[in-house]
């Protein structure tokens, strides 16, 4: 009990003092996860929308893959990326293993299926409603995609936040491909795992608190977006 109280107090001190190491870890976490989510959106929006709208060869397979990868454990994704980037792997020459770039790749792989699968569902629902009108206007495939993605923007925002939530909280993939190297690839989740195992509860708790706050903020934003969109039912 005493150590716990002590740990909480120390965690507070670390946070209040804007501990440099702590800030570095938080910064890297945000950079890696936000970049991964950005990549996931650039790929996932058009991919999900295309699967929803267009019939093309392999469409069923893509849909199946998306849904499968949506629930893939981060360690498995980490392992796959590790194998690709390791010296003996096909992309070994790039020398990316144990760099933030490797972590971004791994998290992008984790998040893209989530964004794409949610986008597919959202766009398919909207297409059911808009389809005849867009057909009647003789909208080109690009115009259809553009209309649906734009009009689904509020729902898509929640898909993005879901993806970010998954990225920032996962530990398995970044641990394997990043290696949790101090001042290089250490992020919040891997730091928590390490510090806890070393018995350094204060740092672990401080980082846990930051993660919790981020989760809280993300969910608050989701609520806000939904509530606001709901009020303007019209636009959501």
């Amino acid at each position: 009990m005493n150590t716990l109280g002590q740990a909480i107090a120390e965690a507070g001190t670390l946070l209040a003092g804007f501990d440099a190491d702590l800030l570095e870890i938080i910064g890297l976490s945000l950079r890696v996860s936000l970049t991964a989510v950005l990549i996931a959106c650039v790929i996932g929006f058009p991919l999900g929308a295309a699967v929803a709208l267009f019939k093309f060869p392999g469409r069923g397979a893509v849909s199946l893959l998306l849904n499968t990868f949506m629930g893939l454990p981060p360690v498995v994704v980490g392992l796959l990326v590790f194998l690709m980037l390791s010296r003996a792997g096909p992309l070994g020459v790039l020398g990316l293993l144990f760099t933030p770039t490797a972590m971004i790749i791994a998290q992008a792989l984790l998040v893209t299926p989530i964004v794409a699968a949610l986008t597919r569902q959202i766009v398919a629902d909207l297409w059911r409603e808009y389809g005849e009108h867009l057909h009647s206007l003789d909208a080109s495939p690009t115009a259809r995609l553009g209309t649906l993605i734009y009009d689904a923007r509020f729902s898509l925002a929640t898909a993005v936040l879901a993806g970010f939530g998954r990225a920032i909280a996962e530990v398995g993939a970044v641990m394997i491909v990043g290696g949790n190297i101090d001042h290089a690839t250490r992020v919040m989740t891997t730091a928590i795992a390490l510090e806890t195992s070393k018995g350094n509860l204060a740092t672990a708790l401080a980082l846990g608190f930051v993660l919790l706050t981020i989760a809280l903020v993300v969910n608050a934003v989701v609520e806000l977006v939904n509530g606001w969109a709901g009020r303007k039912a019209a636009l959501a």
């Binding site: 005849e132 009108h133 867009l134 009647s136 206007l137 003789d138 080109s140 009009d151 039912a233 019209a234």
Partner: protein
């Protein structure tokens, strides 16, 4: 609209529509000429909506041909048409946004699009609601907005599927006035309705469908005064029939 070559008349040649092995429309043969107001009548399930969707190209016939016989058919014929649905499709945008979107999709330059959209809103009496989210508008306003949207695209032929089915008398009158505006501008109008009074007010021609067949097609006066089939007589008399 006026200077271009027409895509009309529209001809159905032995058009059959089937779904899940059921024949829903049987051997439809008909010709719709330009400039007229044709009202499609028939009990629920007769095939009115299917016929409109086939004509507009939203559905493809199972067999038979739907042919636009006019000279102006070198460009995409669907771009010369518009359709207003019973429950109009309202984009999650403002009233004005719904119109500018349609014009943008049709390749109208931005400035001209805004101008045409504004003019169409004014024509439909919706100028004050230009910035209201379309989905928050009342049923009657939405229907007028759908008509304004169709108007903005300057169709040569307008299809309407029960455009006043859930509107009150005032809103119905407003919609009928707008339909009159299309007719006055030279647009060919094809609409379905259950409202016999409305059919009498609007129709030049009546197309009477029953169980997926065209039972009567001809001048409205004759249809209402001397329906030649027993089904049409019962329908005009207001007796239910399936």
């Amino acid at each position: 609209m006026s200077t271009r070559q027409t895509i009309l008349p529209l001809e159905f040649r032995r058009v059959v529509y089937e779904a899940d092995g059921t024949r829903l429309l049987h051997d439809i043969d008909l010709t719709l000429a330009g400039g007229r107001r044709t009202v499609i009548l028939g009990p629920n399930g007769a095939g009115k909506s299917l016929l409109l969707r086939l004509a507009h190209g939203l559905l493809a016939p199972s067999s038979g041909d739907i042919v636009w016989r006019g000279a102006g058919t070198r460009e995409r014929v669907i771009r010369r048409q518009a359709m207003v649905f019973q429950r109009p499709v309202m984009l999650r945008r403002s009233a004005l946004g719904n119109l500018t979107h349609a014009l943008k999709v049709r390749g109208v330059p931005r400035d001209e699009g805004r101008e045409r959209a504004r003019a169409a809103l004014a024509m439909a009496g919706l100028s004050d609601l230009a910035h209201r989210p379309a989905r928050l508008m009342s049923g009657g306003e939405q229907q007028r907005l759908a008509l304004a949207r169709a108007w903005a695209t300057e169709p040569e032929i307008l299809f309407l599927d029960e455009p006043t089915a859930s509107l009150d008398p005032a809103a119905t009158r407003a919609v009928e006035t707008l339909i009159g505006g299309f007719h006055a501008a030279g647009t060919t109008v094809v609409m379905s309705t259950h409202d016999l009074g409305q059919a009498r007010r609007i129709a030049d021609d009546v197309l009477f469908l029953h169980k997926g067949r065209v039972v009567e097609f001809g001048a409205a006066d004759r249809f209402f005064e001397h329906p030649s089939s027993a089904e049409a007589r019962a329908f005009v008399a207001g007796e239910l029939l399936w």
